[in-house]
């Protein structure tokens, strides 16, 4: 009797223990599929957030060119050239788009050579909604491509500041197409492309930390600008004739659009809506603010009066300098970088340019070329893995970044990265200018320059007050 009870008890116990297992075995496929669905939904939400920010950033960067840069530069030239200056920025929004789609994107981000990419993405073949995990695994490659396109547009537009008021439109178009392929795409590939010689994230030989384009955008365009200014020569009447900005109001509006748009340029370079994007956003803003103060203070002391032109020039200089550093530095180093850049670029523009007497009409070299170089080198000083822990060694350990992390050799790598950008810009631009000059002639005729490019080249006037 007792053994029967014990047996039934054991059987009950067994049944009790096995029952959940039986129930679990029935529930398991259901729970598994639900778990998989939850994981996919979380990933989708992450992608949605990232993609939303990246598309917004792309729009912000395009806004930097049009109307940001167009207005900033347009206001700084004489009234008779305002439209031609804006046209130079605007037409690039159109032309570079086509070049990028056909071959530019592929040449920058396809393949894994050290110096330039290949043609696997020519005509955007294979560039669709699937992510390219080499670059950004949570957003469609199309988003990545179009984001990078906006950088490819603004970089050559910056150069126009050097040859404003005297370059032939047809020659400029040819120049820009060649420059995009010979200078921009290779530099972009070297720093950001897979296998690139300078690519810090993907195992480049001379890893250069360039978060959003200090070398790729500002050094290449700024140095190319100097080459153009020297090759084309001074504007007729420079420096004795009065060539004041015809509308600082317009330049001011442009500069503010640049500041706001730059959040897309720098924070968007985090390639996602992440903490790194927040950090880059803050660093960018702080750099701009401190640089504006730096330039204004320098001007106040030197000239006796602080000016709005100084303020907006300063903020742009700060934005340029913080660009390579934005995703690597803490907020207070960002303030320091900005402040130093504001004073340094003021010095470049107010003294060095006057001393060497080159006609870099809108200070593309002084602000972008030199500001970018300064920023790139200071990135080597202040970059820290406390801000950006994305760089790991093969064992998964987070690598030190800049001097503040005890990695002083990074400064050397930054110098190498700058030197390569300088070299590519100088050689590439000289060759391209020569080609354009031989084929089309790069400078307008003297009578066209005096009449003003708006009427001479474009057949229109910017302002018609009598209407």
């Amino acid at each position: 009797m007792v053994s029967m009870m014990k047996l039934s008890l054991k059987l009950c116990l067994l049944a009790f223990l096995l029952a959940p297992g039986a129930i679990w075995a029935q529930a398991s496929p259901d729970l598994q599929t639900r778990l998989t669905a939850v994981e996919a939904a979380a990933k989708s939400a992450q992608s949605a957030g990232d993609n939303a920010w990246m598309l917004t950033s792309s729009a912000l960067v395009l806004m930097m060119t049009g109307p940001g840069l167009a207005l900033f530069y347009g206001g700084l030239v004489r009234r008779k050239n305002v439209l031609s200056t804006m046209m130079q920025s605007f037409i690039l929004m159109a032309v570079i788009t086509v070049i990028w789609a056909v071959v530019g994107y592929s040449f920058a981000f396809g393949g894994q050579g050290p110096f330039f990419g290949d043609l696997r993405f020519a005509f955007l073949h294979g560039v669709g909604s699937a992510p390219n995990s080499d670059y950004a695994s949570t957003i469609p490659q199309q988003t990545f491509m179009v984001y990078q396109l906006m950088f490819a547009i603004i970089t050559p537009a910056l150069i126009s500041g050097a040859f404003a008021e005297r370059m032939k439109f047809s020659a400029m178009l040819l120049f820009m197409v060649l420059w995009a392929l010979v200078v921009y795409s290779p530099q972009a590939h070297m720093v950001w492309g897979k296998g690139g010689l300078l690519n810090a994230a993907l195992g480049g030989k001379y890893p250069t930390l360039d978060f959003a384009g200090g070398t790729v955008v500002h050094i290449t365009s700024g140095v190319s600008a100097l080459v153009c200014a020297l090759y084309l020569g001074k504007r007729h009447g420079y420096p004795s004739d009065t060539m004041r900005p015809h509308s600082l109001v317009i330049s001011f509006i442009g500069a503010c659009l640049l500041w706001v748009g730059w959040f897309g340029f720098n924070a968007g370079s985090a390639l996602g809506a992440s903490g790194l994007a927040s950090s880059a956003f803050v660093a960018t803003h702080f750099g701009a603010a401190a640089a504006a103060l730096g330039w204004v203070l320098a001007e106040w002391i030197h000239n006796g009066k602080p000016s709005i032109l100084g303020g907006i020039s300063g903020c742009v200089a700060g934005l340029v300098a913080i660009t390579p550093a934005s995703g690597f530095v803490q907020p207070f180093p960002a303030l320091l970088i900005g402040f130093v850049a504001g004073i340094f670029c003021f010095f470049m523009v107010a003294f060095v340019k006057a001393k060497f007497r080159y006609d870099d009409s809108l200070d593309a070299f002084g602000v972008h070329g030199m500001g970018g170089t300064l920023g790139a080198i200071l990135t080597g000083v202040f970059a820290t893995n406390a801000v950006n822990d994305g760089f790991k060694d093969s064992a998964g350990k987070v690598l030190p970044l800049g001097l503040v992390d005890g990695h002083a050799v990074q400064i050397l790598y930054q110098v190498i990265g700058c030197a390569i950008a300088w070299g590519l810009a100088i050689v590439g631009t000289l060759v391209i200018l020569k080609i354009c000059d031989v084929l089309l002639g790069v400078r307008v005729r003297k009578d066209q320059e005096i009449q003003g490019l708006d009427v001479a080249l474009h057949g229109e006037e910017g302002y018609f007050f009598e209407a």
């Binding site: 004041r244 900005p245 000239n303 009066k305 000016s307 032109l309 100084g310 107010a350 340019k353 200070d363």
Partner: protein, 112 residues
């Protein structure tokens, strides 16, 4: 008939218009001009590039009045435009050969 051409400080325009209206003169042509006599300009600096701006903004008034009223107009105008400092401006007086009202072909003083 006399044409009275006055170059005055821009901030004096309202005073001058009021004063002239007060004596019954309210037809005139006003232009914004730049120029200088003995008044010094000022220095402007744009990104390190210095400019001496010596073309100063002024306002030019032109009106044609009957010869009998000319002196009265000049006195009123100058009085309203005067600050006593260099840069107050100048008044020039010209002889007018004829004046025609376009609306109805009136000629001479009746066209004024």
């Amino acid at each position: 008939m006399k044409k009275i051409e006055a170059i005055i400080q821009p901030f004096k325009l309202d005073d001058v218009k009021e004063a002239l209206k007060g004596i019954g003169i309210d037809g005139m042509t006003i232009t914004e001009v730049r120029g200088h006599g003995r008044q010094k300009g000022h220095k402007e600096v744009y990104r390190g590039q210095e400019y001496n701006v010596d073309l100063l903004p002024k306002v030019k008034l032109e009106m044609v009045v009957s010869s009998t009223r000319a002196d009265e107009v000049i006195k009123t105008l100058a009085g309203a435009a005067r600050t006593g400092k260099i840069g107050d401006g100048k008044i020039f007086v010209y002889e007018v050969a004829d004046a025609i009202r376009i609306r109805n072909d009136d000629r001479g003083e009746s066209a004024l």
